[in-house]
Structures are given as C-alpha cells and as structure tokens.
Amino acid sequence: MVKDHDTTEPAEEIGDLSAIDGELVEGEDEGYVDTASESEIGRPALPPSPDGNQRAWLHFVLLPTVFMTVALLGGLRIAAPEGEFVFVRPALICLVFAVILTVLFVRTGLISVQGWFSESIPTLGNIANGAVLLSLFAASVQMFNSLIPEQGLAFWVVSFCFLWTLGVSFFTVADPGKLVRSVVALFSLAFLTKYFILLNLTSTSSGTWLQRLWDDPTKEALTYLLDLPRYASATGYIQFFAAGLFLLGLFLVRPDTRSAIGEN
C-alpha cells in the first residue's frame, strides 16, 4: 500500500502527462553491456553463449595467445642462404611506436579504461586485463619490429613515415573503426615495402662477394648501398602470418570487458 501511495504522488505532481501502462519484459540482451559500443565501432555483436563463458575464453585465453604468438614471430627472420632462425630484438623506436599505438587505442575508445580497469571489477579481473593489455603491447612492439627495416637508410625512412602517420592519427583520428582501418593500411604498406620491395632487392646468393657480385651485380650493389640484411623469402611468409594474427587480435578486442569478467 505504501508503495502504491509513493508511486501515485509523482504522477500527481507532473499533472497532465499521459501515463503508459504495461508490463516489464526482460530483454534478450540482458547483461550485454557493450553491444552499443561494439556496434559503434563497426564490429558484429557477439551472441550470448550457452554457458556464458565464451567471452571469457575469448578475452582471457584466446586474445593473449594470439598476441603472444605475434610477439614470438614478430622478430623471427630466416637467414639466407643458411636457413637459420634469427631472433631480432626490437629497436627502442618500436617501443615508442607501440606506446603511441596503445595510447591511440585508449584515446579512440577501442579500449575503454573504465571497461578494462575499474573499482567495480574484481582484483583478479583487473590483473587478468592487465596481462591481456601487456600482451597487446608486446605484440604491437613486435609488429613494428617486424615491419620496420632492421638497419640503414630504409630503417630511418620507414621509421619517419611511421612516426608521421602515428602523429597525424593521434591528433585527427577519434573513431576506433577508422583507427583500425588506418592501422591495417599502415601495416599493409609497410609490409609491402619491406617484404616485397626491399626483400626482392636483397641478394641472397652465397659465395664470396666477388662471386655474388658476378651473379647479380644490381642486387648485390643495392644490398650493400641500402645495408639490407640477407633474409630468405620464408621470412615474408612468417611475418604475413604474424601481421594477420595481430589484426585478427585487434578485431577481437572489446572495449568493455565487464561481460567477459561476469560483472554485468
């Protein structure tokens, strides 16, 4: 009775507004907190899973696995002609670019700080999200390591292009969808430059320098002038796979992780 009395009072106060009668119906998207933001950034909304844990599996297990695989493969090169593994450690500039990219992810809303780290999220959830973010950062570092030429003039030119593009994006791109498209375009161009143009200019023949010069003078001269490291074409395949995995990982990143944690 008291409740009825309470609910009638505001109606009297607002006077002539028409009242809408009806029953509350539970929506199908209950607990689906980030649907709006996902649709905003042009991602398909994930349907609710039967056991409710698919998002947790995707966010806490699949995503770090994808990103750590990128971190592993990003610096891997295959030496020519020996075919040995060469693990190239990232240059300092790669860390700087990765920081800028991560800040861009947050700034554009691809990663919402409130949705990843919050007082309302349990400590374990915050730590697990930190691990996912760390793996994303490691993958970003290694992607730059993969796409920027290792040394010489090409290193400086491509680094400058990256710096310019990231700088412009920092001040102009405010939409996460645009940022992802921009990253895809940037990485594709850098991939083409390094693994199609520069790798094809590199001489991979074995023997003494005189023999190599005799075999292919143009390539040998360009390899020397541009200070290009001698890597086998298998490197390009590995890095293509790594770049694809990174972009897949970006596609799977959700701005809000509370539904994965179970904090609806």
């Binding site: 844990n53 947790a56 696995t65 750590m68 374990l124 490691a138 944690i261």
Partner: protein
C-alpha cells in the same frame, strides 16, 4: 568453468608464453631442433646458479680427473673442454687455473709463442686472480704455482724485446 577460473588460466598462460618468448629471444635457437638443446643448457645453467646461490655447488670430480689426465697427456683442447664441463659456472679457482695453464702450455714455443693462446691465457689468468688472488696450485707438475707468476710469464711472452733475439733463448724450458 567459472569466469574466475578462466581468468586464472589466461593469466598463467600469458605468463608462461611470455617467459617462453623472452627465453627464445635470449637463447636465440638457430632451428627447431636447437630449441631443445638450448632449453637443456638453460636448465643446466639455472640449476648451477641455484647450487651456487645455496652453497651446494661443487666441481664434477670425474670430469676434473679426466681433464687432468688430458692435460698431462698434452691434449690441451680436450683438457679445457673437460675442465669447463667440470666447472660450468667457472667459479672454482683450481679448475680455472688449469684452463689458464693449458693455454700457456699450448701456446708456448721454443722459437716463438702463439700470441692468440697467450692472450686467451692472460684473460683466463685474470679470471683466476679475480676469483682468488692468493691462489696457489698444489700440483708439483705446475712450476708456476701462483696466478700472478703465470700472468707475468704470459705478459712477457707477448712482448717483443731484444732478449727475444738471444740465441741462448733456445735452451729455455717450458714451465
């Protein structure tokens, strides 16, 4: 499976995978088959570090004995390898002194010394001095008992002096 368990699993997976990635870039295996070799080496190294930290580290007596036999048989390359295996952490002055001495004996020549061997011997002797400045060899076969004596001999061997052209030099003996 509850979300909390998945988070713990994810955290563990990320940590283990992350450590593997760091290890791969540190150890830099050259092929897929080299991964297991490098892993074994890393485990061995970690075990030795742990032994050294807990004070339970000791030289492998069997390998040291074999190294000593090879040293006395003047097979210095094998001797060094066995001594290095006996003392993988390189913290036992006695074993390290034998390694330094092996460089000296291998590099010594009646007409001229092998400078490369002497340089390596000098570096190794410095290592022995850093480990134990007052180290004294108890082997009667080693005529240079102290590391500083060996260091002096190696330094003199690397210098070119007027004495090097003295014909009587041909009568000198190896220590």
């Amino acid at each position: 499976m509850r979300s909390k368990h998945i988070q713990i699993l994810g955290l563990t997976l990320t940590a283990v995978y992350g450590l593997f990635v760091l290890w791969a870039y540190w150890a830099a295996p050259k092929s897929v088959s080299d991964v297991s070799v490098k892993a074994r080496e890393t485990i061995q190294q970690a075990a030795n570090e742990a032994k050294a930290a807990t004070g339970t580290y000791e030289v492998d007596p069997e390998k040291f004995r074999n190294g000593l036999n090879a040293f006395r048989a003047e097979n210095f390359v094998l001797a060094r390898d066995l001594f290095e295996q006996a003392d993988p952490k390189g913290i036992d002055p006695k074993t390290q002194y034998y390694i330094a001495y092996s460089y000296y004996r291998q590099g010594w020549g009646r007409f001229s010394n092998d400078d490369e061997m002497f340089k390596l011997g000098l570096e190794q002797t410095d290592r022995v001095i850093a480990l134990d400045r007052e180290f004294k060899a108890d082997d009667p076969d080693l005529k240079l008992k102290y590391a500083v004596e060996l260091k002096k001999e190696l330094e003199d061997g690397l210098k070119i002096t007027a004495d090097d052209f003295n014909p009587l030099r041909l009568t000198r003996e190896r220590h």
